[in-house]
């Protein structure tokens, strides 16, 4: 019986683990996508911000686990993030197991520079397959490449693929299946001095430490490999320094010696492999002469950015309105059909509102990422970063931070997600931390409400004042974000300036599959991973505004409000609802906090509204409506703000606007910061510094307003 069962269910084959390595812009991600389809997921590791994409595929019945290592020009590592590929390839990583085979993706139009990374990978002692991309472009430019000769010189199989068209993928997969039969890669012979010094250092290391790791520790002065080894054996610090000195004495001058020797070896191996055409003026050069020109390039850049920004506003707004209409309808339907009680209220005001609050960001994320993916895939994104780099360098950032900050004018969530293109960790963090300072579209309702209530021409103000106020609020973020970035880069994120190397890839027509991938990736990382946390926060705020439900005499507020509504006494119902909110936990907290907000010129209603709007700024309008016992319509709230016994003064209005311009009252942003930085420290930090900034700014604004308007 037993053999029969075994026949019917053959033991599952052990999957082949494969790691993809390659330079940036060589089509590595496109290859990964065409190998894996949509079945991929991302892996996060503690303490680092890099994400590694993983996928499992089946080829001819054999399972293959794919690991997409971050694109890099070299395995030299100056940060824990950069050491991860080396650790994985050597089997020293804490989570990932060692791959069985490595596929190196190589741009055929630029063999020499691409083979540098491959040259390092030859030494990790794993079967290697070289996968050439852009062979068609190399041939179109007049180059010829002899794959058989390259394979012989490097000691590994060479296959060529066209990942977009799917050409060669099957051959690549077949080669992967036969990895055990591939010849052994041929690493270069290092000078005797280096071999000796490596041996010397090795005697002090743990026995299983690979030679490659020791060489990395020697090559990268102050690099991460050395730090890693010294952490285990403190004695190594002096041994490494001594070894480096010994190398220098024998003419092996670090840090350049590694690259000089490797490139020399690569050039030797490439003799006869490629026939290079004479470098002529390509049409990318011709286009660049216009698109990176100080005048025409800048004009085109401004036009492109304006179009991106406008389309996000114009296309997303109707969809967002439509989405909020649906979730309001759904909420109303729940309230009218289900029996009243805390559960119904939770469903209508907590969960449906919360889900709506998550989904409302999706149109912006999808539209922005479609446009950004197109800009990136055409190659224009690198030019945009090139054009604004000098401007951004003044605040300690690089040109790559510009687009994420610009996107944050629409919404900080996609803005923060788009910082992934910034390779330098500190630059990326600084950009993430200041992105929420840009005035996003959710602040607009607050601004327009205050402008209508305090600075309207009917109140005797100049008709220009409203516009000036709005402009000032936007300028506040635009000026403060670079300043804060500068302060951060000088203090908390202090460190050596990263090398700004911006590869300007060839212009090409974007591939819709790759665009779709990027959009889905961004959408999913928001909804799938941040969504649940946002929802939980929304439900918590709901509970704080809902409970306690009973007044001092034991009467129930929800019952009373419902009864009044059924009797058609709408105004009275709203009045009681306001009292109910006032004595809720959040209301009590707001009242207790009133003295804190008094220097800003706020009464308790504004204090409660500001605190209640913690999950999302735009909630402040709705909360004010509830507190002033009005229907949620701007005109009514404006009237209420003007007519109550203590109307909102222009000074208090200004301070409210400034507070909302600078605070980080947005759970979604904070959760996304947490996800992207892989830590809870940074969202807390962002919330704290922005709240302090907002409070100080609002105080100044109130003093200024009192001085101007009395």
């Amino acid at each position: 019986m037993i053999p029969l069962v075994a026949k019917a269910f053959p033991a599952p084959l052990k999957p082949i683990t494969l790691a993809l390595v390659g330079n940036p812009n060589v089509g590595k991600t496109t290859l990964f996508n065409s190998l894996s389809g949509l079945r991929q997921h991302t892996a996060n590791y503690p303490g680092v911000t890099v994400e590694i994409k993983k996928a499992s595929v089946l080829h001819k019945g054999v399972p293959i686990d794919l690991l997409d290592l971050p694109g890099a020009y070299s395995l030299a590592a100056r940060s824990p993030d950069e050491l991860i590929p080396t650790q994985i390839l050597l089997g020293l990583h804490c989570v990932e197991c060692r791959p069985d085979v490595v596929v190196a993706v190589v741009d055929a139009t630029n063999l020499e520079r691409n083979l540098y990374l491959v040259h390092q990978v030859l030494e990790v002692d794993l079967p290697l397959i070289i996968c050439l991309t852009m062979v068609d472009m190399a041939e179109a430019a007049g180059a010829t490449i002899r794959c058989d000769l390259l394979a012989e010189r490097m000691g590994c199989p060479v296959v060529w693929v066209h990942p977009v068209k799917g050409v060669g993928i099957d051959i690549l997969l077949d080669t992967i299946l036969g990895y055990q039969k591939t010849p052994k890669p041929k690493p270069m012979d290092w000078p005797l001095a280096l071999v000796k010094e490596t041996e010397q250092v090795k005697t002090l290391c743990k026995k299983e430490t690979p030679d490659f790791m020791i060489r990395r520790a020697l090559f990268d002065t102050d690099g991460e490999a050395a730090k890693d080894l010294i952490l285990e054996k403190p004695l190594l610090a002096s041994a490494l320094a001594k070894a480096r000195k010994g190398l220098a004495d024998s003419g092996f001058l670090l840090p350049q010696a590694e690259s000089i020797q490797r490139y020399e070896d690569i050039r030797k191996r490439l003799v006869g492999v490629q026939e290079l055409p004479k470098a002529g003026v390509s049409w990318t050069d011709r286009l660049d002469a216009w698109l990176t020109h100080p005048v025409s390039g800048t004009l085109f850049f401004l036009l492109a950015m304006f179009l991106v920004f406008e389309s996000v506003f114009l296309l997303a707004t109707p969809i967002m309105n439509w989405l909020s209409a649906i979730h309001e309808m759904l909420g109303d339907w729940v309230l009218t059909t289900l029996p009243e009680g805390p559960f119904t209220d939770l469903l209508a005001h907590g969960i449906i509102q919360g889900v709506g609050g998550v989904l409302v960001f999706l149109p912006q994320i999808c539209i922005l990422f479609t446009l950004l993916a197109i800009l990136e895939d055409t190659g224009y994104m690198a030019r945009a970063a090139f054009l604004v780099d000098h401007l951004m360098a003044r605040c300690g950032l690089s040109g790559k931070s510009f687009i994420p900050l610009l996107s944050s004018l629409a919404c900080a969530v996609p803005g923060i997600l788009s910082t992934r293109v910034i390779e330098d960790r500190r630059d990326r963090l600084a950009t993430i931390l200041v992105a929420p300072l840009m005035s996003c579209s959710a602040r607009l309702p607050v601004y327009t409400l205050v402008v209508a209530a305090c600075f309207a021409p009917e109140l005797g103000h100049s008709p220009w004042l409203g516009g000036v106020m709005l402009f000032a609020m936007y300028m506040l973020g635009l000026i403060l974000a670079p300043l804060v970035a500068l302060v951060l880069k000088r203090t908390l994120l202090h460190g050596p300036a990263p090398l700004f190397v911006l590869e300007l890839p060839r212009y090409q027509i974007p591939n819709w599959k790759s665009v779709l991938h990027k959009v889905m990736d961004a959408g999913w990382s928001f909804v799938g991973r941040a969504g649940s946390t946002i929802l939980a926060a929304m439900v918590l705020i709901w509970a704080l505004l809902y409970f306690p439900t009973n007044d001092l005499k034991g009467g129930s507020y929800p019952k009373r409000v419902n009864l009044l509504k059924q009797e058609g006494k709408g105004e009275e119902a709203l009045h009681w609802q306001a009292i109910w909110r006032e004595q809720s936990y959040l209301g009590i907290a707001g009242k207790a906090m009133e003295p804190v907000f008094r220097p800003l010129g706020w009464d308790w209603r504004l204090s409660v509204a500001a605190i209640a709007s913690f999950p999302a700024r735009e909630v402040v309008v709705g909360t004010l409506a509830q507190l002033y016992a009005q229907e949620e319509e701007e005109d009514n709230i404006v009237k209420a703000l003007q007519a109550t016994d203590s109307p909102l003064t222009p000074a208090a209005g200004l301070s409210l606007m400034v507070f909302f311009a600078l605070c980080c009252q947005c759970v979604s942003t904070l959760v996304v910061i947490g996800r992207e930085t892989n830590s809870w420290f940074w969202p807390l930090f962002t919330f704290t510094y922005m709240t302090i900034l907002a409070y100080a700014g609002a105080w100044v604004a109130f003093q200024l307003g009192t001085w101007i308007w009395g």
Partner: protein, 83 residues
């Protein structure tokens, strides 16, 4: 007087071609430049400059890159071929 045969990369004029003689520095910045193949003998052409004259748009061998003036100043060139 004939212009000097030697200059650093940030002094190159648009359209000029030159060859790298050496790269200054022993920090990781010079290592990174070396990893990218910016080392002795490599042919470089200045294709253009961004607004405010920085960064520079270069052709190195047969690829294109943007590099800031500050870093370009470390790369020393000679205008007649090394080969």
């Amino acid at each position: 007087m004939t212009p000097s045969n030697f200059c650093s990369l940030d002094q190159l004029r648009p359209g000029e071609i030159a060859w790298v003689t050496h790269v200054d520095g022993t920090d990781d910045l010079s290592q990174r430049l070396g990893d990218l193949g910016l080392q002795r003998g490599v042919e470089i052409e200045l294709l253009g400059r961004a607004p405010w004259g920085d960064p520079l748009r270069l052709r190195v061998g047969n690829w294109r890159l943007g590099l800031r003036r500050q870093e370009a100043a470390r790369i020393h060139l000679q205008k007649t071929s090394i080969h």
